[in-house]
């Protein structure tokens, strides 16, 4: 593990760590602090913040508790971000490893497919995919992953290309290991670190993409997400701006926190690798 102190060597990383800790705390405490359905109607509609202390952040168009939605939304946003990043990294790593390790026709086909995905604007792809399959949280996660797996795939392939000629791979070949086994047991684990370094950027982008999809009306209505809250608040943007501003700020701080913390980790690892 990376020593925590080295990670926290810049104010940016500290800020990122604080933001992320707060986010995780919100997500984990959501059901404890706000048990029950956060979408239940809790009071009069469009109650402004700081009016009623049982509903500190006020209520939305239907009278749902904004604070409860915010906490539960942290959970969904985080889940969407992490799941999409995990999916993108997994697919990317597998495709990249296969392409890099197999070479030849397989490489060519996989990389042209990667090109194809990269040629189509990923947001457009996500939009079309969600429209087609129908918006639910899982579909949104897949849609985001569809547009983001290409980056990890290219990085993984580049790593694999440099690893596959190394001694331990040659010796694995020599003892007659199955090529796929070599690819996934010997090569992939060593190609992973630079791929994983991309995860913070993907998590952040996934959260933003979910928000943009919700903005266009393609969110999961059974779950609270910050994007969905902003999208609902948009109809009353001028009369009740807090409904868009509160989840908007949460979104910006989260994404910022993820970027900053991610950068801190990458820098720390870079320093460590440089030293070793």
């Amino acid at each position: 593990m990376i020593p925590l102190r080295r990670f926290l060597h810049t104010p940016e990383a500290i800020a990122g760590a604080i933001l992320l800790t707060a986010l995780f705390a919100m997500a984990l405490s959501a059901s404890l602090l706000f048990p029950g359905d956060p979408q239940a109607i809790a009071g009069p509609a469009l109650l402004p913040p700081f009016q009623d202390w049982s509903l500190p952040l006020g209520t939305d168009r239907l009278g749902r508790d904004v604070l409860a939605e915010l906490f539960h939304g942290a959970r969904t946003s985080l889940a969407v971000g992490l799941a999409a990043a995990a999916a993108a990294l997994a697919v990317g790593a597998v495709v990249g490893t296969l392409a890099g390790f197999a070479g030849g026709l397989v490489d060519e086909m996989l990389m042209r497919t990667t090109d194809a995905f990269q040629t189509v604007p990923s947001f457009l792809l996500a939009l079309a995919f969600v429209s087609v399959v129908g918006p639910s949280l899982g579909v949104v996660v897949i849609a985001i992953a569809l547009g983001t797996w290409t980056g990890p795939a290219r990085v993984a392939r580049a790593e694999v290309l440099s690893i596959r000629e190394r001694d331990y791979v040659a010796s694995a070949r020599a003892v007659g290991m199955h090529p796929l086994e070599i690819a996934f047991r010997e090569v992939l684990p060593n190609a992973l670190p630079p791929v994983l370094a991309m995860s913070s950027v993907i998590v952040a982008a996934a959260i933003l993409t979910e928000a943009a999809l919700s903005f266009l009306g393609l969110g999961d209505p059974n779950r609270v997400t910050w994007g969905g809250m902003i999208s609902e608040g948009r109809a009353v943007l001028r009369t009740a701006p807090f409904l868009s501003i509160v989840p908007g700020i949460a979104l910006v701080l989260t994404v910022l926190g993820i970027y900053l913390a991610g950068e801190g980790i990458v820098e720390t690892t870079a320093v460590r690798r440089g030293l070793s």
Binding site: P11, E12, A15, R112, T113, D115, A116, Q118, T119, V120, P121, S122, F123, L124, A126, L127, A128, F129, S131, V132, V133, G134, I144, G147, T148, T150, G151, P152, R154, V155, A158, P194, M198, V201, I202, A204, A205, A206, L208, T209, A211, A212, F215, L216, G227, I230, R234, L237, R238, S244, G248, L251, V252, L253, T254, V255, L256, Y259, L260
Partner: protein
């Protein structure tokens, strides 16, 4: 938007992959040949993939159409027949590809006009938006990046870097709506949307100025988001160059700091940004979907969104095809330019 991951990762690929050390011209030609052959396959995958995706969609163009009209069973059958939706999927795909071979994009179901015309009408607006936004984010981003990177770790460096990152974290539609409320509704300095004054019959410079004024807000909304990308890349690139031997050498020669920053450090750090320009083109197009909708810009992004909603498969195929060709062409240009521009041919780059 989601576009924000792509650039960074692919740019990194370019930085880490080694390049052949032959002459620029030969490299450029080889690149061109390889790319053209590859592009055909890429486009074929894009077309077939998009077609299959839309075919899997629940509801077809007729379902989307009758939302606003209603109609009985006979009318629906009539419409399906007229729009060719009663043919099999395979037949329609074959017809489409056959027409495409003749460079015919087909007829839009919802516009009942040739898709080429529909797209050509919108393409200039989107290009204008994208080019201006790119110019803004690249120009201002790299300038601020140089300013910040000139003194790594300084207060201004930290401030600019976090400030731009915060902008990067703002959802595009949110920034757009905020700009409208402040500058169009509140201050009334700028129009709330559209590409030009409606039915104004302006021509020549007047019209250009009119379009310029209308573009200020959407270009800002799109451009400021990606500002951070170039700023931070420039900054990071400069930090790397600072550490390199040749900078130490010029520093030892006693050149002024300003001279060193501009002539040596920034110049060398600029190259990856050029690559990024090409890579970002596809993502700008994605980002413009939302921005065009918020600012009522009649562009390709909005058209694509409408095509999905109205299940106009041939129209969406046309848009995706055109944008794919555009993206491939831009990247090709960037790579060729790179082949000529890169002063550090060969081994020295591999270490970067």
């Amino acid at each position: 938007m989601s576009g924000r991951t792509e650039g960074g990762t692919r740019a990194r690929r370019f930085c880490s992959s080694s390049r052949a050390a032959d002459a620029p011209m030969t490299r450029a030609l080889a690149l061109l040949r390889r790319r053209l052959v590859g592009s055909v396959f890429v486009l074929l995958i894009v077309v077939i993939g998009t077609f299959l995706l839309l075919e899997a969609a629940p509801g077809d163009a007729v379902d989307a159409y009758i939302v606003s009209t209603g109609g009985d069973a006979g009318m629906i059958e009539l419409l399906r027949h007229r729009w060719g939706l009663d043919q099999s999927e395979l037949a329609r795909l074959a017809n489409y590809l056959w027409a495409l071979l003749h460079l015919d994009l087909g007829q839009s179901v919802t516009f009942s006009r040739p898709i080429r015309d529909v797209i050509l009408e919108r393409l200039p607006n989107t290009l204008l938006l994208m080019v201006s936004a790119t110019a803004l984010s690249f120009g201002l981003g790299s300038a601020l990046g140089i300013y910040a990177g000139a003194r790594p770790g300084s207060l201004r460096d930290r401030f600019l870097s976090i400030g731009s990152l915060a902008l990067y974290a703002v959802p595009g539609f949110w920034l757009g709506l905020a700009l409208i409320i402040v500058f169009a509704v509140g201050l009334r300095w700028l129009p709330i949307g559209g590409i030009e004054t409606l039915a104004s019959d302006k021509t020549g410079l007047d019209r250009a100025a009119d379009i310029g004024i209308h573009l200020v807000l959407p270009v800002s909304a799109l451009g400021f988001i990606y500002l951070a990308l170039y700023l931070r890349m420039m900054r990071a690139g400069m930090a790397e160059v600072w550490r390199q031997d040749f900078v130490l050498a010029v520093r030892a020669r006693g050149l002024s700091r300003r001279r060193i920053v501009l002539a040596h450090v920034a110049r060398n750090a600029l190259l990856p940004l050029v690559t990024m320009l090409g890579l970002q083109s596809a993502q700008m197009l994605g980002g413009s979907v939302v921005i065009e909708s918020v600012f009522s810009v009649p562009g390709l992004g909005r058209l694509a969104q409408e095509a999905v909603a109205s299940r106009d498969t041939p129209l969406l195929l046309g848009i995706i095809l055109v944008s794919a060709v555009l993206v491939i062409a831009i990247n090709l240009l960037v790579d060729i330019a790179y082949a000529f521009l890169d002063p550090r041919v060969g081994a020295s780059e591999a270490g970067a």
